[in-house]
Subunit: 105 residues, 2 copies
DNA sequence: AATTTGCGCAACTCAAAAGTTGCATATATA
DNA sequence: TATATATGCAACTTTTGAGTTGCGCAAATT
């Protein structure tokens, strides 16, 4: 079952995992040590993140280092782009308002 | 109960609502007509979006027009910023690799 | 070879969230 | 004033997801 990237990021623990491995690739055990929950719980989060390709595994003996996949994270950025114009417009309108107020002085 | 913006955006219906009203403010009934679900179901999504301030109500008689709150959406952008450097680095490294390959010709 | 360690998978429990139906309230319209 | 319409709230059912426990497998260690 393919996971949805928005769904993957909705969970705070998964966001924390992403923040961690964006700095340095980690094994499931190493991640679990950072959180107050069982290794298996973390492992399930890893599965979700892996299924939507936000992280990539790198096998090293019996250890698996999970890397952050920045490219996938950009999908978010692309979705957000449809609103970016919207908020820039809003600020431009604010600028205009402030300018108008200043001119009235 | 305050809602989490990440949780709010995780739902596909809520994302569709946001996309709709980013273009034009709509009433709950108008939104419900766009989706194949009851008005009350849409209304619950509106409640979630409203609680995390992604949308703003504007009363007009007995109708309520919900507007998109671009400013709140920027919180996403700020969260994403921590990874932006990450993927730019990745592309810079790719650039460097390509440059190196070209120099070897 | 036996044991330990790192990991994933499956079954289970429990809590939260999505959707439905029914009802109350306020504003329009006849 | 009586009726229709727009909306929100509460109770309920069903689905989904987070977390735990138990197990099996493969690689490292002794």
């Amino acid at each position: 079952m393919k996971q949805d990237i928005f769904q993957a990021i909705a969970d705070p623990t998964r966001r924390a995992i992403l923040t961690l491995i964006a700095i340095q690739a980690l094994t499931p055990n190493a991640m679990a040590e950072k959180f107050d929950m069982s290794r298996q719980a973390v492992s399930k989060h890893i599965k979700v993140l892996h299924e939507c390709e936000l992280i990539k595994p790198e096998q090293s003996g019996r250890e698996i280092y999970y890397h952050f996949n920045a490219k996938k994270m950009q999908e978010f950025d692309h979705w957000l782009a449809q609103f970016r114009q919207n908020w820039e417009t809003q600020f431009n309108q604010l600028d205009h308002l402030l300018t108008t107020i200043n001119e009235q002085k």
